[in-house]
């Protein structure tokens, strides 16, 4: 909220700290405050002023969206004497006529309007406001209009109570007495507000009406009907209290937010209306002349009384971690306007308990913890020590997911892949968002692939080679639930199926996930399913793979068993085969392993070639076969015999041509 430094000073006899210091004081103890700028003086008569921007916390909107509220805070923080002006005593009532003969108020729903207070003046003279008033409004960001309208705004900025003023002669009535009705609007009713906007009303909107029409959207904005103009002579001053819910609902439905609706939405103290109305009456009389009618209209069916909250000193000390006496607490709270009564326990062994009377403006304070916050901030958060907790030494729980997330990141970055974080949103397919920010981000991503492929397209412009991966959640609708799954995706540019497959194999190997196999499938972008036994782990294409991360975590293990290398030398023999193009390497491997038995330690494909020198439709496969035994040195003879047997089976059972 925009606050005038000079206005604040007007509440105190004592000089306030310089604006920078004051801003710092408020920031540390009340609300973040920024000194925005030095202002004026606008005229010779004007004063120099400073604009402060005070970010009033939402729970203090009840009492601090006002200069008075901020001044109260300052008084409490600086221990400055502070007394508010009693305008009721300052106004001069010089009319015999009772207000009750002039205006009567019908409140149709005391839950929606808990209080309606009004005063009336006659023979006023509308004109421009005095310079000092205009300047104060301007610094707070409001445009001066006329003395009467400016006073309404001024009272709101000073007290926090939204204020409305009607031209009484423009209210429709059958008799001499005007009737003001607080009621829900009827469907079909319309209103044109002061800024010339038209609104359709219905039962969700609370209005102030005369005998015929709504004249004001209650607590939100006044209507044009009884607006103040140059001819206005008789006015009714309204300060009311409306339910936060009905104002919030109305403001949302009409899409109309105002200084008034903002304050009412945060709930105000009904006891504020009277002092606001008296202040406004006083100012009108001072500035626009006129005579105040005798008495006040005050529809206040259920009077709000200050609640009491019990406070245990032990609790204060325990929550803030400080030592503090009942006396200090009492002093802090009284500075803030709370009433404090101390009850000594009879046996004097236990600490005193306090009963705190909460001023009705402090709607935010309902439980002991609220009071502890007040004590804490007056005591000063900076004075609270900092100390490590003494807690039982329990080692933190091990989070497998997190451990493997980091491990996978390590493995993939070592393989040259960089990690991306993409948006969880995509432009098509997937769980739909009700209120997307754009068509591009209308759905929740059903996979990581969509955005990863886009990453390639973007990065291709700058890099010859792109390797990226992402670990993140994807979404899928399942009846009335949305299933979220963590996935691992990676992309490679230029596309290379075998390199990507090698990445998966290396990754799974490092995580000790065994028995992975690749099932050939042919779908868009997909070449193979990555499987562990019967379990589908994910899929692989030419330039992308995407795996189920939760399954990876479930299958991965940190267990390792050391196998001693054989004491006997290994012998390597090569085999080259000419096979049909469609022959799968795994078929050849299976056969070699089956025939070779336990003496075949390993079979390595070291060449796969088709093209020149190879007949059309065929390819050449070349393998290293590593022979080794655990219990003796293999002789050439032994190995030759086995090698011969393998070649024979490859030719006879496999039907392939062994190139000798």
């Amino acid at each position: 909220m925009k606050i005038s430094y000079d206005w604040l000073q007007s509440f105190f006899q004592k000089k306030l700290p310089v604006p920078e210091k004051l801003a710092d004081l408020l920031t540390r103890h009340s609300f973040e405050t920024e000194l925005v700028k030095k202002v004026g003086p606008a005229s010779k008569a004007g004063k120099q002023d400073y604009l402060l921007d005070v970010e009033v916390l939402p729970n203090r909107a009840h009492d601090c969206l006002s200069h008075l509220g901020i001044a109260r805070e300052i008084a409490a923080l600086l221990k400055y004497p502070f007394e508010i002006v009693d305008y009721a005593k300052k106004i001069k009532v010089d009319q015999k006529e009772l207000i009750q003969n002039f205006v009567k108020v019908e409140n149709k729903d005391k839950n929606l309007c808990s209080r309606y207070t009004a005063r009336a003046l006659i023979n006023i003279k509308v004109g421009p406001s005095p310079q000092w008033l205009q300047e104060r409004l301007k610094i707070c960001g409001l445009r001066p209009i006329s003395n009467i309208v400016d006073i309404a705004n001024y009272v709101m900025l000073e007290t926090g109570q939204p204020f409305h003023i009607y031209d009484a002669d423009k209210l429709e009535s059958k008799g001499k007495t005007k009737t003001i009705i607080v009621r829900r609007a009827k469907k079909g009713e319309k209103i044109t507000t002061l800024d010339n906007e038209k609104y359709d009303l219905d039962e969700n909107i609370l209005v102030i009406a005369d005998e015929k029409n709504p004249v004001c959207v209650a607590g939100i904005k006044g209507g044009q009907g009884p607006g103040i103009d140059g001819q206005t002579k008789r006015i009714i001053l309204e300060a009311a209290n409306f339910s936060p819910q009905i104002i919030r609902q109305g403001s949302q439905q009409l899409n109309l937010k105002t200084d008034a609706s903002w304050r009412f939405e945060h709930q105000l103290d009904p006891n504020l209306t009277e002092e606001a109305v008296e202040m406004a009456a006083y100012l009108v009389q001072e500035i626009a002349g006129g005579e105040i009618l005798n008495g006040i209209v005050d529809v206040y069916p259920v009077k709000i009384k200050p609640p009491k909250v019990k406070l245990d000193i032990k609790k204060v000390e325990s929550l803030l971690g400080i030592d503090i006496s009942a006396k200090e607490i009492k002093e802090f709270l009284e500075r803030l306007g709370f009433g404090v009564e101390t009850f000594r326990s009879k046996n004097r062994t236990t600490e005193a308990r306090l009963e705190v009377t909460v001023p009705t403006r402090r709607i935010d304070v309902t439980i002991p913890e609220d009071l502890i916050e007040e004590i804490g901030r007056l005591y000063g958060f900076e004075k609270i020590l900092s100390q490590m907790p003494t807690a039982t030494l329990i080692p933190p729980a091990r989070n497998e997911d997190l451990i493997y997330q980091n491990k996978v990141r390590d493995i993939l970055t070592n393989l040259g892949f960089s990690e991306v974080y993409n948006y969880s949103f995509v432009s098509s397919k997937g769980v739909e968002v009700l209120n997307p920010v754009s068509q591009e981000q209308k759905y929740l991503r059903p996979n990581l692939a969509i955005n990863l492929i886009k990453n390639i397209e973007e990065n291709k412009k700058y890099f010859n080679e792109v390797r990226l991966f992402e670990i993140g959640k994807v979404f899928e609708k399942n009846k009335n639930k949305v299933i979220e799954k963590k996935r691992l995706g990676a992309v490679l540019f230029p596309a290379d199926f075998y390199r990507l497959k090698g990445v998966i194999d290396t990754l799974l190997n490092k995580l000790r996930i065994t028995d992975v196999w690749y099932n050939e499938v042919s779908r868009e972008n997909i070449r193979a399913e990555v499987k562990i036994g019967n379990d589908l782990l994910g899929w692989l294409g030419d330039n992308i793979f995407e795996l189920d991360f939760e399954k990876i975590v479930a299958l991965a293990t940190e267990e390792r068993i050391y196998l001693a290398p054989s004491k006997y030398p290994a012998i390597v023999r090569d085999i080259a085969l000419l096979v049909e193009r469609g022959t799968k390497v795994v078929e050849v491997l299976n056969l070699i392993n089956a025939v070779g038995g336990h003496l075949v330690r390993d079979v390595d494909l070291f060449d796969m070639y088709e093209g020149e020198e190879i007949p059309q439709g065929k390819k050449n496969l070349a393998f290293h076969i590593i022979y080794q035994s655990d219990d003796h040195t293999l002789t050439d003879k032994e190995v030759n015999k086995l090698q011969e047997k393998i070649m024979k089976v490859l030719e006879e059972e496999g039907g392939w041509e062994v190139r000798r």
Binding site: R28, G376, R377
Partner: protein
């Protein structure tokens, strides 16, 4: 025979006048076609016993000579000539090395990992929570009532045709965890959150947060300050300063905001022009209504909770001036981490 050869070589070495002639000597005897090399190679043909004896001797001589050449070479050049010392071809050590292909962690992952390590060392367990939430956990259980202006603080994405939302903070995990666990407890929950708001250099529709929660019998604000100061000093360095000021969150009471001040250049474009204290964290003592919602005995437990933006920490740490860089997958950005 070997001894004679040795004497001959040593003599030549002592007579060598410069590095070039030393290099010649090296080539002549120890090079691939050198005399001594040939002798060593010929050992193969000897019987095993002879081979062992002569081989040992020949190798000793070879080492001795190499040592002498090196020592002599140092005299000439004042330093060891690498070619002679390592008996290899000369290489230009100033030419660029061949870089292995390397990948990079995302900056948020880096920051997250560091924060997790710091908190784990203080006994906090790390948890994960759902990104899709119910209204109950995201709001109600956290003392944020329906139709209350407090809800406006969290601009929410809702799902279509289904009564769920994208979590606006990691705080729902406070309630989810406490429902299932009794104090004492210490947890942190990192995770992705969403806000329905216009994007600019410091706001995006998604961001990362770490939630912290510590509950026990006497966990107080003093302990909060201890833990957070410990964290900040380890994360930003010992010179970092911390400031608490009043804040408001429906799920904590008292509530406070944590600001920091660092030495050196800290301002990002996003924070330029503002005061030098930087807001980094919202926190407070857990509100009794939250304890009530999770079924704890009233008055029995107390503790603190906090939420810190990972994007913001990463931005401060690496001086990144636009939050959207985190999510556009641009390698020119990513490869710097």
């Amino acid at each position: 025979m070997l001894f004679q050869l040795k004497q001959k070589i040593l003599k030549e070495i002592s007579q060598a006048k410069d590095l070039n002639s030393l290099e010649e000597i090296y080539k002549k005897y120890l090079g691939r076609q050198g005399e001594l090399t040939k002798v060593l190679r010929s050992l193969k043909e000897l019987s095993e016993k002879e081979r062992k004896e002569k081989g040992k001797l020949a190798n000793q001589i070879k080492e001795e000579i190499a040592e002498k050449i090196k020592a002599r070479g140092t005299k000439f050049s004042g330093k060891t000539n690498p070619a002679l010392a390592d008996k290899k071809e000369w290489i230009d050590v100033t030419a660029p090395g061949i870089l292995p292909v390397q990948g990079h962690f995302h900056p948020i992952s880096l920051v997250q990992r560091q924060i997790e390590e710091i908190f784990q060392s203080m006994g906090f367990s790390v948890l994960d929570g759902p990104e899709i939430e119910t209204e109950y956990y995201n709001f109600d259980a956290l003392n944020i009532p329906k139709n209350h202006p407090a809800r406006d603080l969290w601009d929410t994405f809702w799902l279509k045709d289904i009564d769920l939302l994208l979590r606006t903070h990691t705080s729902p995990m406070q309630a989810r965890y406490m429902e299932k666990h009794q104090p004492p407890l210490r947890i942190i929950v990192p995770g992705r959150c969403f806000r329905h708001e216009a994007t600019d250099v410091s706001h995006d529709v998604q961001f990362y947060q770490i939630e912290g929660l510590m509950v026990g019998q006497d966990v107080s604000m003093v302990h909060f300050k201890g833990v957070i100061e410990g964290f900040l000093k380890r994360f930003f360095g010992p010179e970092v300063r911390m400031r608490l000021r009043p804040g408001h969150f429906p799920f904590t009471e008292p509530s406070f905001e944590v600001d920091i001040k660092r030495k050196g250049p800290v301002s990002t474009k996003a924070s330029a022009g503002k005061q030098d204290w930087l807001e980094i964290m919202g926190a407070g003592m857990v509100h009794p209504n939250v304890f009530k919602a999770v079924g704890y005995l009233p008055g029995k437990w107390q503790g603190f909770a906090f939420g810190v933006g990972l994007d913001r920490l990463a931005m401060l740490k690496y001086q990144i001036d636009d939050i959207r860089l985190f999510y556009n997958g641009d390698l020119r950005f990513l490869k710097q981490f």
